[in-house]
Symmetry: C2
Subunit: 187 residues, 2 copies
């Protein structure tokens, strides 16, 4: 099972797109948050969603979003989980699933800001100040630790084409090293 982490705008979504095209099944911790937020009538902007996610972590434990996302996982070996934010979430996945592989995606602040402004997603930050606030929030949850201790790091600092190509190379390498993935992807 692959788990993706990385700062906002680093390129997690595009990583997952490539993985999906290769047969992986994607689940998104962010979608779990949005689903629960919608049920609870929370506004769908970045700040409201973030506050709600934090409040739920304080109420139910730092691993609550891992726990709720795990309910949607049917084929763990070929699942890619998007959006790991802290060590407690990682511990949850490691306790309940085998062969956890953590992949961190890196881009620096200016690259991330440029991409976020370009993608213009409803729940995204709209400025450098907004991004810094969001970075701080995610770092306060412990994302720096899971990034620094990842099994693989991929740097997304050139073109989208180049990045897609590098993601494909990395995923093929991982598939070849992990028979449990290879068996299910190559039918």
């Amino acid at each position: 099972m692959l788990i993706i982490t990385g700062m906002p705008g680093a390129g997690k979504d595009e990583f997952v797109k490539v993985a999906r095209s290769m047969g992986f099944v994607d689940v998104h911790m962010g979608n779990t948050v949005k689903k629960y937020a919608l049920k609870n009538n929370i506004k769908q902007d970045d700040s409201s969603i973030g506050k709600y996610a934090s409040a739920e972590r304080q109420r139910f434990g730092m691993d609550i979003w891992a726990k709720r996302t795990a309910e949607d996982i049917r084929e763990p070996d070929i699942t890619i989980v998007d959006g790991l934010r802290n060590c407690e979430e990682l511990e949850y996945f490691k306790k309940h699933f085998d062969n956890i592989i953590v992949i961190a995606v890196f881009a620096n602040e200016s690259e991330r800001l440029e991409r976020i402004l370009k993608r213009d997603r409803e729940d995204d930050v709209k400025s450098q100040e907004g991004l810094r606030k969001r970075d701080s929030r995610e770092l306060s949850w412990g994302i720096g630790k899971v990034i620094s201790l990842a099994d693989y790091m991929i740097v997304n600092d050139s073109t989208l084409d180049e990045y897609h190509k590098n993601v494909g190379i990395l995923l093929n390498d991982i598939i070849n090293r992990h028979s449990e993935i290879k068996k299910k992807l190559v039918k």
Copy 2:
């Protein structure tokens, strides 16, 4: 001014070697710690040095090792500082020097452990357990944050030759983008 960060054993020393061969002047926060430890009769093993470094941080502030290392910097533009551990150190450097460029070096735990055991340095950890303790210590100082927010990330996951080559490419790229470095290196 370049500042290098990364988990223990990631490849900071080898990065600095390449930079030195290209004309950069290297200073090492770790050497500052060792110098002060020696003056104060602290044992030179990893755990004693680590405890001493932490104690001094608690006594004099999180940026104390940046402050003491900065005293040795004569030519900031072409200096490479090895061993950034936390945000407060970074703030110190940013406050006192212009054009700070943070470079993070990444390797995963098994690669780092293999390299550490091979280099057999006196002040190093000797086992996976020792490395995990040291990782935890450095993460508690906030190294995960400076790694995640670096300006450049370089992945050191293949051979030493390949890594040296990639470091050279990255440094040349940085030199070409920064006229203050270029002016002093290309005489």
